[in-house]
């Protein structure tokens, strides 16, 4: 594998340094005078972060390759700065067997743009009744550690209890889509509040999430197991998690970029692009989520990237599919709503978008410090570049992009996965030239 020299990147936004990557590993950090056969990535003024890790994406393959494939989803991930993504199990067929998990793993590897990590279903067919073969998925080549029925809540307390007990044996975690189906059924599509009342849309009350999270943290305490709360959307859930962590309960949580930035009033135009589950919430919730991410109550940002074919979104609002794109815009959203207002610094971004999600998902080679001997997964960010999102330019196969037309400051410039450049915005202007000044005396790599 060829060598890569990343020049002048500000590590976690701090001091600038050069990074020399060889054979997929960071070999040297400092002031490097490179020579010989080396590809150079000029990162002057850019912030270097460990490669981003997304605990929650939907890549739709197998089953809905018209909406996304592992290849297009991987390309979107790379463009968003991600070097690992956890692919949710609600495909067709469902990832509820070792074979299905290995298939996703292999498709991801063949693509090679990002580490595609299959999430296993908690229950067979996501039906919430019988446990899927959690142990066989864990023992498979895919080494599944994160289990989720995402899209559905594991609402039966006994099933949830058994799942939590069972995954302890192999250090697994259950990622819960918290939605009490009796309080928020399949028709629930708008945050229950003044907006849903006025629009006549079926309400999705915060309590439907909070009550499940409250139950689950108690189940985690009871079983001594580990629970992860997917897409936290309310201030009430934040309170429950904060309390649970203070008790020493092993709970982690993620929040999506859209719940950090978009609010329920966007639904006033009945545009299904804003239909997502859990729904967009009021400003008070958004502010509580930002604060919780900053203070560590919420551990990670996860996109819940949910591509949909056009025809599945062009229905009346209540009939349209839930979900929105997120992989390519996540870093820019976090930069805009957390870094620029001073709630997080770049080291904080590395925590919530890389090291914490890697730890939660059990990925030992991801989210590592930018230091010698770490695997070369990293993301280069221009903290000052303004981007205006254009849905048409997405690498995703779908266009259900709620960020279209919005402008953010801070954007991914390049992504390095396993020592290979998987995305480089400036690829056409910034030449990856072999260093012809290789004859520089003393250059010895």
């Amino acid at each position: 594998m060829s060598r890569l020299l990343i020049r002048g990147a500000r590590l976690l936004g701090a001091e600038a340094a050069d990074l020399l990557v060889d054979d997929g590993v960071i070999r040297e950090v400092g002031s490097i005078r490179a020579g010989g056969d080396v590809e150079v990535l000029d990162a002057d003024g850019l912030v270097a972060l460990p490669g981003l890790v997304d605990l929650h994406v939907h890549l739709r393959e197998p089953g809905r390759e018209d909406a996304e494939t592992i290849a297009t989803g991987s390309a979107a991930a790379a463009a968003g700065g991600y070097t690992a993504v956890f692919a949710m199990a609600n495909t067709s067929p469902v990832t509820d067997t070792a074979e299905a998990a290995e298939r996703v793993l292999d498709l991801g590897r063949a693509c090679g743009l990002t580490q595609v990590v299959p999430v296993g279903a908690v229950t067979k067919g996501l039906e919430g009744a019988e446990l899927a073969e959690l142990g066989l998925m864990a023992r498979s080549r895919a080494a599944v550690r994160v289990f989720s029925d995402d899209g559905h809540c594991v609402h039966d307390a006994r099933v949830m209890r058994r799942a939590l007990e069972y995954v302890k044996t192999f250090g697994g975690v259950v990622s819960q889509h918290a939605q009490d189906p009796r309080l928020a059924g399949p028709d629930a599509c708008c945050h229950e509040g003044e907006v849903s009342g006025r629009l006549g849309l079926t309400g999705w009350p915060g309590i439907a999430e909070e009550s499940i999270v409250a139950r689950d943290v108690m189940l985690a305490r009871h079983t001594g197991s580990r629970v992860h709360v997917a897409h936290v959307s309310t201030a009430g859930t934040v309170e429950v998690i904060r309390w649970a962590k203070a008790q020493g309960i092993d709970v982690t949580a993620e929040v999506t970029p859209h719940h950090l930035a978009l609010t329920t009033d966007l639904l006033a135009g009945y545009d299904p692009v804003y239909k997502v589950n859990p729904p967009l919430r009021p400003t008070e919730d958004v502010e509580a989520l930002r604060a919780a991410l900053a203070d560590g109550t919420i551990d990670a940002v996860a996109t819940d990237h949910a591509p949909h074919a056009r025809q599945d979104k062009e229905h009346a609002f209540p009939d349209a599919a839930f979900g929105m794109l997120g992989l390519e815009t996540a870093l820019s959203v976090v930069s805009e709503v957390l870094v620029r207002p001073g709630l997080l610094d770049w080291a904080g971004v590395a925590r919530v978008m890389s090291s914490a999600p890697a730890r939660i998902g059990g990925l030992t080679a991801q989210g590592r410090p930018l230091s010698e001997a770490s695997p070369a997964h990293l993301t280069l960010v221009d903290p000052d570049r303004e981007v205006t999102v254009d849905a048409a330019e997405s690498r995703s196969r779908s266009r259900n992009n709620p960020w279209h037309g919005r402008t953010f400051r801070g954007a991914v410039e390049a992504t390095v996965y396993g020592g290979r450049v998987t995305y480089d915005r400036g690829a056409t202007s910034r030449t990856h030239r072999p260093l012809t000044t290789a004859s520089t005396p003393g250059a010895d790599l």
């Binding site: 907006v195 849903s196 629009l199 006549g200 849309l201 062009e314 009346a316 609002f317 009939d319």
Partner: protein, 344 residues
């Protein structure tokens, strides 16, 4: 006047009054032997009903026909499911036939709003899910004004399943537009979410106690009873029909108390009525009841809406000019019928 009528909020007070005045002329026409006017000759109106309806669809159909438009009824129950044709495809297919107006009834809130963004023709909301039903609010306002005159300061009480009522949502807007004071009454389970902030922002009152409102200091000028669907019981919104009636029905006793305080009080119901549940037979058939007036006003008001949306400045000259030399936006077509000497 806007191109579409999606929400009651689309209409200013002047526009509502304009429509209601036109409706009065139309209402006169309705009482004639020959009811047809040529105003919308050559125009095509599609009544696209994704949900069952009897009175709304027939009144739109009659309204269009009496104005000489070609009206076509399409029923597409069930085609709104995500497995069928997308709403966008359905809307654009109909629009591609170069129709002038789409009258839409849909079981999904917001459907008309969405369709209006995809098509070139006018879109008229004939009821979208649990969102709005603006022509119902207009015909209710017409009925109220016929009996009460100017609605400024009049106190209208709306009672029933507010959560699932598009009639309530449109009425509360139009009544406020016309200056009425509105109180809405329902058990907490049938109050829309966020009603506290909503009512504060839009200036109407809410109560869980019907008797307190009816017997309160603020004399009631009209009470509008909303239909309560019996299936709401299985949804746990209230325990039994009997309990609902005791708490929120317009019983004979409540009617007597209302009339004792104000002989001119009006009783409205958008229909179809559940006699014995939300409204007693005595109340439904009382002299104070204007339920049939509402139905009668339905055609006239819908004619007025079609007129204002379709016979605007861009009305092709021949259809109107040939028969109504003085027809302009300001002179409703019923005038024409009069000049033609249509028999009464």
């Amino acid at each position: 006047m806007t191109k579409h009528l999606i929400s009651s909020a689309d209409l200013s007070r002047a526009e509502v009054e304009d429509i209601l005045e036109t409706a009065a002329s139309m209402h006169d026409l309705q009482r004639r032997e020959v009811k047809k006017v040529p105003t919308l000759r050559g125009r095509t109106i599609i009544n696209f009903f994704f949900e069952d309806s009897t009175r709304t669809r027939s009144s739109f159909e009659i309204a269009g026909k009496w104005m000489s438009a070609d009206t076509i009824n399409l029923s597409a129950k069930g085609s709104s499911t995500s497995k069928g044709e997308s709403l966008r495809d359905t809307a654009m297919t109909v629009d591609a036939m170069a129709v002038d107006a789409l009258v839409i009834r849909h079981n999904a809130s917001g459907a008309c709003h969405q369709v209006a963004q995809w098509v070139r023709c006018s879109v008229i909301n004939a009821g979208d899910g649990t969102h709005e039903h603006p022509t119902q609010a207009l015909l209710d306002a017409y009925t109220l004004r016929t009996r009460l005159g100017d609605l400024d300061g009049k106190h209208v009480v709306i009672v029933g399943d507010l959560t699932h009522s598009r009639v309530f949502r449109s009425n509360v807007i139009t009544l406020k537009t016309l200056g009425a004071r509105v109180t809405v009454v329902a058990p907490p389970t049938l109050m829309p979410s966020g009603i506290g902030a909503w009512s504060a922002a839009d200036g109407f009152a809410t109560s869980w106690d019907l008797d307190a409102v009816l017997d309160g200091d603020d004399t009631v000028d009209a009470v509008m009873m909303l239909r309560v669907q019996r299936e709401r019981m299985s949804g746990g919104y209230f325990p039994t029909a009997r309990e609902y009636t005791v708490g929120y029905g317009l019983t004979r006793d409540r009617l007597d108390r209302l009339v004792a305080r104000n002989d001119d009080v009006l009783v409205l119901h958008p229909g179809p009525m559940n006699r014995g549940l939300e409204i007693s037979p005595e109340a439904a058939d009382a002299p104070q009841s204007v339920v049939l007036d509402q139905v009668s006003a339905g055609v006239a008001v819908r004619m007025a809406v079609l007129y204002h949306l379709l016979a605007g400045d861009d009305t092709p000259a021949p259809a109107v000019a040939a028969t109504t030399p003085s027809s302009t936006h300001a002179s409703p077509p019923a005038t024409t019928a009069t000049t033609e000497g249509a028999a009464r």
